[in-house]
């Protein structure tokens, strides 16, 4: 490599005009468009959380009106789930890296990929419009009849926003499935695919098969409100529980849309920073598919106390326990990989370890909730809130941040400041636990979710939770700061700063538009790490010409 870094063409400097971004079909640029959008939505959702955590500092409702409080947690849920968590890893890191990992020049349908971003933005604008014109107070679940007969807020606009955004998710999933099937480089057999790709393939299946059910459910809700075509209206003999069934048929698998990609990220990070081949490759690969399939069969565990039949409850309880098995298989395999490996405490590794710990906590408390009798006690309490935040924030967001740090040098060509990044990773872990662990206790003691006021005896734990939330808020702002800082002042990364395997590390950083300037790569087995000999090379040293060092 003799090309000068400053002049080498890559996907970022190929063209600077705004139109070249708005009409790009380059999967890497689409990934960056998504990165900017989901970051925007993350901070909107986060701001709502800051407000209601402030309200919950005191037992009395003194900061917000009850209606405002309801709108705040609804806003937080809708934005964080549909506009941050669902698209985060797949649409940002998946779009960017799935084609590169399999040695392709782009996804199978680049124009659909761009279209998905526009659809996403349109859905987001509808939702924001719903918020600024009065908000929604139904909770992110849109349960009927809150959202139909008794709904007096902007349900139609918000549901329409989520409905529209759903199609962007379907297109993303479709692209992943078809790309994985048809665009693999020579030698890239299925069992050589990085586990990140397996995870995204499984996620694609859920996106394609689950999202349309949510779409049609929200469409029926919109029809009921707008045209009076009542499907869920008890006055006509309709059944609001049917809405819950249809809603959770998507929304339980949606949890795996958030978590499976994070698991894929963790597999990449663990192997790289333990300098070890993954333990049980096929088990991890197939457990992703098992999670995707079993995930469709457990939705009824959200309705143990909604008047669902007791026998259905038995079956859903059993299946919900079963779906924990493939997740546990992954955790065991990661642990075995670490055990045999030479571990470096880099930032992505800290996030990956955080993921394993917090996801395990979330998963085990999920078993409490899948147990019929225990669920009757803790249903709709803060125990549930804590449980799914351990999965979705402790799991998915940790995975997302780990992945963003892991691939940041590849995406931008720059290294982030390692010590700042480690500090924020630890701060996030600490702030997260301080925020949500007290909520397990609160829920177990009986504090129900979704109330703006509460009895005095819950105040200490609530103050702890709010204090944790403020730490967490600051800790999330830190990466925003130093990552932007690194774009200008960060050291050059070189092709492969972590000495990672995987085809995405064989191209220059940032990659050129065509991904592989030397032609289509030939794939070998995944994760060919050898243990001790190169462990000291893992953290990048200042290099004058990292390009040469990497080749």
């Amino acid at each position: 490599m003799t090309t000068d870094h400053r002049t080498r063409r890559n996907y970022l400097n190929a063209n600077y005009s705004i139109w070249s971004w708005l009409f790009t079909t380059d999967h890497k640029r689409v990934g960056i468009l998504y990165l900017l959008s989901v970051t925007f939505f993350f901070f909107i959702g986060g701001a709502a959380a800051v407000l209601f955590r402030l309200e919950l500092m005191t037992p009395r409702g003194d900061l917000t009106l009850p209606e405002t409080y309801n709108k705040l947690f609804t806003l937080h849920g809708i934005v964080m789930i549909f506009f941050f968590l669902v698209p985060s890893i797949p649409a940002v890191l998946g779009n960017f890296f799935l084609p590169m990992m399999i040695g392709a020049r782009d996804v199978a349908f680049p124009r659909l990929n761009l279209a998905s971003w526009y659809i996403f933005i349109t859905g987001g604008l509808f939702t924001i419009w719903a918020i600024v014109t009065g908000g929604v107070d139904t909770g992110w679940t849109f349960y009927t009849p809150y959202s139909s007969t008794y709904g007096n807020t902007n349900v139609i606009a918000a549901a329409l926003g989520v409905f529209i955004a759903g199609f962007s998710s379907i297109l993303t999933g479709l692209n992943f499935i078809v790309t994985t099937h048809t665009m693999r480089a020579p030698g890239m057999r299925w069992f050589r695919l990085p586990l990140f790709v397996w995870a995204h393939y499984a996620t694609g299946l859920i996106m394609v098969l689950g999202t349309p059910v949510l779409a049609v459910t929200l469409l029926l809700l919109i029809l009921e409100r707008a045209l009076g075509i009542g499907i869920f209206d008890p006055a006509l003999g309709g059944d609001p529980i049917l809405f819950q069934h249809l809603f959770w048929f998507y929304s339980h698998p949606a949890v795996y849309i958030m978590v499976l990609p994070a698991m894929g990220v963790v597999s990449e990070i663990i192997t790289c920073f333990a300098r070890n081949r993954i333990f049980g490759y096929r088990f991890i690969a197939f457990s992703s598919l098992a999670i995707a399939i079993l995930g469709f069969l457990v939705w009824g565990h959200h309705m143990f106390v909604s008047g669902q039949s007791m026998y259905a409850g038995f079956v859903f309880s059993f299946l919900s326990m079963l779906v924990a098995v493939p997740s546990a298989i992954k955790v065991f395999n990661w642990t075995a990989t670490l055990y045999k490996g030479t571990v470096t405490w880099s930032t992505p590794m800290l996030y990956a370890l955080g993921f394993i710990g917090l996801f395990t906590m979330g998963g085990l408390t999920g078993l409490f909730l899948a147990t019929l009798a225990v669920d009757v006690h803790v249903h709709d309490t803060y125990f549930v809130v804590a449980h799914f935040h351990y999965i979705m924030v402790g799991g998915a967001v940790m995975g997302y941040l780990g992945g963003v740090h892991f691939w940041w040098p590849k995406m931008t060509g720059k290294l982030y400041p390692e010590n700042w990044a480690r500090f924020s990773a630890i701060l996030i872990f600490f702030g997260f636990n301080l925020t949500f662990f007290p909520q397990f206790v609160l829920g177990y003691l009986g504090m129900p979710r979704r109330y703006h006021a509460y009895p005095e005896q819950f105040q200490v734990l609530n103050v702890m939770s709010s204090a944790g939330a403020s730490i967490l808020g600051v800790a999330y702002l830190l990466p925003l700061g130093y990552l932007i800082w690194s774009l200008r002042y960060g050291r050059r990364a070189g092709r492969n700063p972590w000495r990672a395997t995987g085809l995405e590390w064989t191209t220059p950083s940032p990659p050129p538009t065509e991904n592989f300037p030397d032609g289509t790569p030939i794939a070998g087995d995944a994760y060919q790490y050898s243990s001790v000999d190169d462990w000291d090379l893992v953290l990048p040293a200042p290099e004058e010409h990292p390009e040469e060092a990497a080749v």
Partner: protein, 217 residues
């Protein structure tokens, strides 16, 4: 027939594989889209069999049958059009697709008449809904309005899909029958045809579920 290969594909084979698989995956998604609604239909029909039968009796069986015939014929013309383009007969492919569009519009017109009729009979769910069934006496059986909710949601969603299909074919007919310019790639016609067949198959399920459930009694 030559096909152009987009820059990110290696060859025609790969492109064809991707396009066809893409449409099948999309159709799998569509199955779940209609499936959610059909699940609702199934639940309510199990809860209110009399109401659903009574509602079904108010649909026009003859118009429904006519539309079924129209739609099945349109699938045939699409299949023939794909056949024609692969054997290099561009004009014939164009005319066959144009005829498909005519059949699609005929279907929607008949459906429009049915909707108008239901409106006059106060069978559209909502404030104006009023069900009078002489066979059942004056008290309408429970669930009739839900039947019509399902009817309008299912057939309406189906009609939206037909409009999209007609739009896709419109572009293809224009490209096939214009004097200048390249013919569209056969692959596009085939993939659009796949979509049309799917919409047709959905109707094959909707017709008995909506029009024929009272016949067995």
């Amino acid at each position: 027939m030559t096909m152009s290969v987009a820059h990110h594909f290696d060859d025609v084979e790969q492109q064809k594989h991707a396009a066809t698989l893409g449409m099948w995956v999309f159709l799998a998604s569509e199955v779940l889209f209609f499936g959610g609604l059909l699940a609702g239909y199934a639940v309510y029909r199990a809860l209110y069999p009399e109401g659903f039968a009574a509602g079904s009796r108010h649909l026009d069986l003859w118009l429904g049958t006519l539309n079924t015939a129209v739609l099945l014929t349109s699938s045939l013309t699409v299949a023939l059009s794909v056949e024609a383009i692969y054997s290099g007969n561009r004009r014939r492919a164009g005319y066959l697709l144009a005829f498909t569009i005519v059949l699609g519009i005929a279907f929607l017109t008949v459906k429009g008449f049915e909707y108008a009729h239901k409106y006059h009979e106060h069978l559209v769910p909502g404030a104006h809904f009023q069900f009078v069934d002489h066979a059942e006496g004056d008290a309408p059986p429970q669930g009739v309005e839900l039947f019509f909710s399902c009817y309008f949601a299912l057939t309406g969603l189906h009609a939206v899909h037909m409009v999209i299909g007609i739009g896709l074919f419109g572009v293809l007919v224009f490209e096939l029958l214009r004097e200048k310019g390249n013919a569209p790639s056969p692959l596009r016609i085939e993939v659009a045809g796949l979509y049309w067949h799917f919409v047709d198959v959905v109707w094959v399920f909707l017709f008995p579920l909506l029009y024929l459930i009272h016949v067995a009694e």
